[in-house]
Symmetry: C2
Subunit: 343 residues, 2 copies
Amino acid sequence: MEKEITIYDIAKILGLSPATVSRALNDHPAININTKTSIVTKASELGYRSNTFASNLRKRKTNTLGVIVPRLNSNFMSAVLAGMEEVANEAGYNLIISQSLESVKKEIANARTMFNSMVDGLLASVAYDTDDAGHFESFVAKGIPVIFFDRIIGDARFSGVTIDNVKAGYEVTRHLVGQGCSRILHVTGNLKRNVYAGRMEGYKRAIAEFDLPQDESLILVTDLGQEAGKAAAQYLHTLPARPDGIFLASDVCAVSCIQALKEIGYVVPGDVAVAGFNNDPVSQVIEPNLTTVHYPGDQIGQVAVKTMINHLNGHSSIHPASSIILDSELIIRGSSLRKKKGN
Amino acid sequence: MEKEITIYDIAKILGLSPATVSRALNDHPAININTKTSIVTKASELGYRSNTFASNLRKRKTNTLGVIVPRLNSNFMSAVLAGMEEVANEAGYNLIISQSLESVKKEIANARTMFNSMVDGLLASVAYDTDDAGHFESFVAKGIPVIFFDRIIGDARFSGVTIDNVKAGYEVTRHLVGQGCSRILHVTGNLKRNVYAGRMEGYKRAIAEFDLPQDESLILVTDLGQEAGKAAAQYLHTLPARPDGIFLASDVCAVSCIQALKEIGYVVPGDVAVAGFNNDPVSQVIEPNLTTVHYPGDQIGQVAVKTMINHLNGHSSIHPASSIILDSELIIRGSSLRKKKGN
DNA sequence: ATTTGTATTGCAATCGATTGCATAAATTTT
DNA sequence: AAAATTTATGCAATCGATTGCAATACAAAT
């Protein structure tokens, strides 16, 4: 554990002042090119590395972004993170990542940690049950930008990066209708979350537009887990007026639902057409392949971080309230295809 | 952007010295209980937050662990990260995560960044092509612990957390043999990596033990991607002496292989029994369900971080060279089941 | 030769928290 | 009552890098 080289060491060796060394290493224009070269050379020769803490302490900036997600281990989220990491890394920012495990309590704790770590900005996708943005107030108060992604909070003080869930939900439902479905069950998640509320609204719009039954018993609020998928299949089986289509707000849930439906004896899409959401890898493995909505996780991550960094550099003028809406895409596969033509 | 509260502010208000305030906030035993209480109260009243940089600068410790992974967006890796985050968070450590995208060059750059960020310890799973531990030397030199996980480097100066890949590979192969397979194709990844080399060695041992053909044409080195799975199916189809079993070192690859096999017209497991590795979610969706090895990602992550933190706290005495081997488990499913009984 | 300008470099304070050592006050021992 | 402890607090240096404001040197202009 040898001692670290500091700018003082370099200064002493070269007979210069620490100030000059510091400037040279930061490529300050006022330093003579020869001096600069010799300093840089000597620095790398000695294996000098800048002490981030001293630097951060002085500059009051951390070059670190905080990220809070509900869960790390979902296909979608890891795509988001991969996208974030890519952009952040390129711009010289580090990411501190934490997961709330869908618990508001842990989310609050994580936010506090991020706050105390003095992140330059915060990127968050909120937990299932989060009611308000109280735990993000402190960031606002200190002028630290907060950007929500995917699961955003409808609050005028934060911007968000997401897709048009209403439109996507509408398109899925319209597609099912186009395939001849006339009673469509919608399986969704906690409606506090924009993503699920939006998809449901899209569903309802399409239902209304095509004069289909607006039956409350056709909407099932669940946790969208694997069990929920099975339960949805059972539920459908018990309904007197049997639905002939299901739109589930998550692929993982949709897949287990299809499995359960097949077990009960239904034919997909013959008896029941099924559509999911997310374009998870499992959607291309289940038989029949699952109709779904491609959800650009990596793009969401990239855009969120890009927006954040631009904002930190003062290069942008995003209104706090503005949201960035990325394109999603309906992907039609076997699980809903009953007709050869049309959509 | 109001100004931050510092211990000096608190000291002034309470008529004490910054030293006392600092000690009180760190629960130093020499501080009077009443003094301590009043300081803590006032601090939270003012919304004081400790400046990590000043603290780190003085303490020469960052409470941050660096993590380098090949890719963030795989099911296995996100499980690992989730496990890591859980343990780290609980112990008050932050994680800085970066991905090499399977590129040695990026891995080297990431290592340098981590080094310059002065992480207290480094956790790494190396890229496909990484040949040596050169870029981790600097950590060793500075006495910063490095722990590899999953894809470890066989170097006496680093410890690692992984599973017994040889044993797992052996068990998979033995199982296939037990199901009546007599020509088993093994599809693997870059053999520089212990995980693939180990699985292959296990495969070879079983092959030798049961006197099956040790044909080099039965070993296929690929990148284990989806395309590789399809290619493997095609390859099998072209072999004059048709294999009746395939052991692929990754589920994702195995699943696309099964799909391609079925497309060509093979019956799984009737014509060809298939086994994968990782227990990825897709293994339970493909039909027939895929026989695989459960790979405890979250445990690997948890253990790696626990080991690291114990080491940092001086609580442990892991020899640098020692490795921690976690249990894996053969999970038998339809894709390899030809007989009703036995394995 | 004097003034003005320009290019480089240094001085010294600053960013907050920590900690070894010293001091002061309160308590106990002799 | 004086001495020895114990308890509680303060002093001041330290951790490295940054930066506004001089200061110096040398070239150009008058």
